[in-house]
Symmetry: C2
């Protein structure tokens, strides 16, 4: 990859773009260039030369066809909440900002499906679905600002994946525009199919490098009728993590199994004013059930498992509001770490469940080795560990050590059969690990990229 | 597609194949050629020129590389239970029979994963998993003889997909050998990942046309602790089908929602000696639950829904054995239809849930129009309708009319946003509908086929 003889955006190009998208949807203003130059990844931002806000598939088709002929790079952007730099315009060119294509096109209650445009915000989707008693289960922590298109492009998941799966499991059909001048529909509006190569699922997680998603059909689920939350505190990391493995094998199916260590508990307490117990770690479980009686049995068995497993403090909220307070604490993890240090490195690995404890301990071992502070949290129920390195870019030496620690942990995950990323994606951040993860398959991916985007104009320098 | 200047298998080729796979694993005996010439699809069988039973990935690699150079077609075969002719050696050549690669390589209980070879029989896998309290949920009716490799190649699903999903949802990683001389591993041994193009999921359902699967890592689930079955009979198709929609939206999550119409009930009764009630249709529900109390509540609410929805007879087994009798009846659907007519045409479409009733009625309407008998059954809980045309190939005229009825129903499914196949695949049978389903995407699929298999030696004439 990495053909870099791109053309700059000329004044003729700007005129052409304005004639396609409308003059008010093309900008070269500093403010727009700067706000479209990076996501939440603390890498070097690179400015685009122009930002375009398409409003339809046909506009996207014309823009991509034009840019491909002119060899101008096009970087696709959703809510900009990504953590790996995947929407960084590394070679300048055009940022295709999808935020104006944000409509819910059709809610089909009986089909338990919805058609959406990619710029739709996650929280808004679930708000609009509520009156239909349906929801889209993947639940990223950035739900207030992330877009469905971004979630699809990164196969985002989050808090509920342990029970409900990741975004890929909910994408039934996609409309995708390719730089070679194609506007195609993949998949079908049904829950399963065997109809040839499943390109819809292959495009999920492709980080905007193959084509631009302009519509998606998502499957939905009925809103759970009953929920209960429990928070369990431990004085030992081992006890806490081991409990998670036991819960998974017990047959209990919590909708969420979250983990926060002491570092995170303290940061959240400081940031939020909630005075969380000062313990080694905390596990949060959420149970969803059709039956209230069933829910009570699950909860009671879970509490027994947690107690037997060494939990020293159990909090069982009696009301939705009390439960919400626990989830607020959990959602404070990211803002509180940002408050505590300017540019933390947010880790995202996933390991097989038998390596959960090993993986968590490895993070602490690396923190000692490289003399950096780490907070460990994550969706541990499915093996997804976020080791967050508390550092500041301006302290160059510490920053480099934190990067090395995160790199070592990423390689460890790959070595034990896991993955370099569970849900944040590859972007700029994890490119260097792609060959460790995939071996020769990386070459195949590069050839596929060429197949779909022969002039390499889409998100160049990202992922591959 | 359809480059047909293939070479015949010469005596030199047979020597080369014997030196790769061992002489006892290569055959040109009539018996072997005939038993490797077709699956359960009533199309014209075509004989291969040789059958080879590889025993390792490295043998598969050598065979494919050799055959690609020599331009000899290679058709991959599992249990031969397919219903679309996808393992028919349409251009002769070699059948690669995977039945000797049938080992369970590793059961990882804590990880809830298993590594298997593709020739492993479905039922055997679940039997071996039982002591670990784990199971592989996709549940095809052909579980006694179908292989995991075949299930992956067709994205098989079956009875439990409405709750647990299809095979694709359980494939975490694959080892695949390609004719271009590559032996590659895709995916990772974890429940979710965002690590580039998801080629593992794309290969699921590719019907052996891109590469040969030689190992698979599957995710597993804890065996359900409690189950209950209920059978509900109706005197009206409308009432029965409408109940299914209501159950889906109620928040109840049955593990199975099956449907059988009067034609099937009678065929099963005749075949099995079970005297099932002579009603318009029957719905079978199975509930799985961690909690016994929860299960009772679900069952009781379901019974109320069924009664309110017009069920005239409810059977609620009190024991596992009684429940098993209902499932035996359901499993009798396919053998009983084979008994009743020599060569039924087994339909397999899927429609959005809002079109369920419409889709079922369409099958009856087409039966009247083309004057053929039809039995309708299926996994209606996820929209998957099997309209089975009771005909006999020897009655040429009737056979043709049945084919036309099935074709019209298939096109109907595509028109309402559904799919030409839910779980049986494309094979030879449904090739003609691929353009109706995919439009221009078919061209893209053909180019992808060329990308992975430039000499078009793998399963030529299948799917595309």
């Amino acid at each position: 990859m990495g053909r870099v003889e791109y053309n700059k955006v000329s004044s003729d190009d700007l005129k052409a773009l304005a004639s396609i998208a409308g003059a008010s949807d093309v900008s070269t203003e500093d403010y727009d260039l700067v706000t479209n130059s990076s996501d939440a990844f603390p890498g070097e931002p690179t400015l685009p030369e122009a930002v375009v806000w398409p409003e339809s598939s046909s506009e996207v088709l014309k823009i991509l066809t034009y840019a491909s002929k002119r060899r101008i790079p096009v970087t696709v952007r959703g809510g900009g909440t990504g953590l790996t730099g995947a929407c960084t315009p590394r070679y300048g060119g055009i940022v295709l900002n999808m935020m104006k294509m944000n409509k819910i096109l059709d809610i089909r209650q009986l089909d338990m499906q919805v058609d959406v445009e990619p710029g739709l915000i996650y929280d808004q989707l679930n708000k609009e679905l509520e009156p239909y008693s349906l929801f889209f289960p993947p639940d990223p922590a950035s739900g207030k600002s992330c877009t469905i298109g971004g979630m699809i492009s990164n196969n985002a998941s989050g808090l509920k994946a342990v029970r409900y799966g990741a975004t890929r499991d909910y994408v039934l059909a996609l409309r995708v525009v390719f730089p070679a001048g194609l506007d195609l529909r993949f998949g079908a509006r049904v829950f399963k199919y065997s109809i040839g190569y499943d390109l819809a699922r292959m495009l999920v997680g492709s980080e905007g490098t193959l084509g631009v998603i302009t519509e998606a059909t998502l499957r939905l689920r009925p809103l759970p009728r009953n929920r209960r939350t429990v928070a369990a505190y431990f004085d030992s990391i081992e006890d806490g993590v081991r409990c998670i493995g036991r819960i998974r094998l017990s047959g209990l199916e919590p909708a969420a199994i979250e983990f926060l260590d002491r570092t995170h508990l303290r940061l959240i307490s400081d940031w939020s004013g909630l005075s969380l117990p000062d313990r080694e770690c905390m596990i949060i479980l959420e149970f969803h059930s059709y039956s209230r009686a069933g829910l009570e049995e699950e909860l009671s068995d879970a509490l027994e498992l947690l107690r037997e497993g060494g939990s020293v403090e159990l909090v069982v909220p009696r009301s939705e509001r009390e439960a919400e307070r626990i989830w607020e604490a959990r959602r404070g993890a990211y803002p509180s770490i940002l408050k505590a240090c300017r540019s933390p490195i947010i880790g995202d690995i996933i390991v097989p469940l038998s390596r959960l404890l090993d993986g968590v301990m490895k993070a602490y071992e690396l923190a000692r080795k490289y003399e950096v502070r780490v907070g460990v949290m994550g969706h541990l129920g499915d093996g997804n560990i976020h080791a967050n390195w508390l550092t500041d870019r301006r302290n160059r030496d510490e920053w480099e050590r934190a990067l090395r620690a995160n790199a070592d942990l990423t390689r460890y995950a790959i070595e034990v059969g896991g993955a370099l990323s569970a849900e944040h994606g590859v972007g700029v951040e994890k490119k260097e690990f792609m060959r460790d993860q995939h071996g020769e398959v990386v070459d195949l991916m590069m050839r596929l990229k060429e197949f779909f985007d022969p002039n390499n104009i889409l998100n160049p320098g990202i992922m591959l």
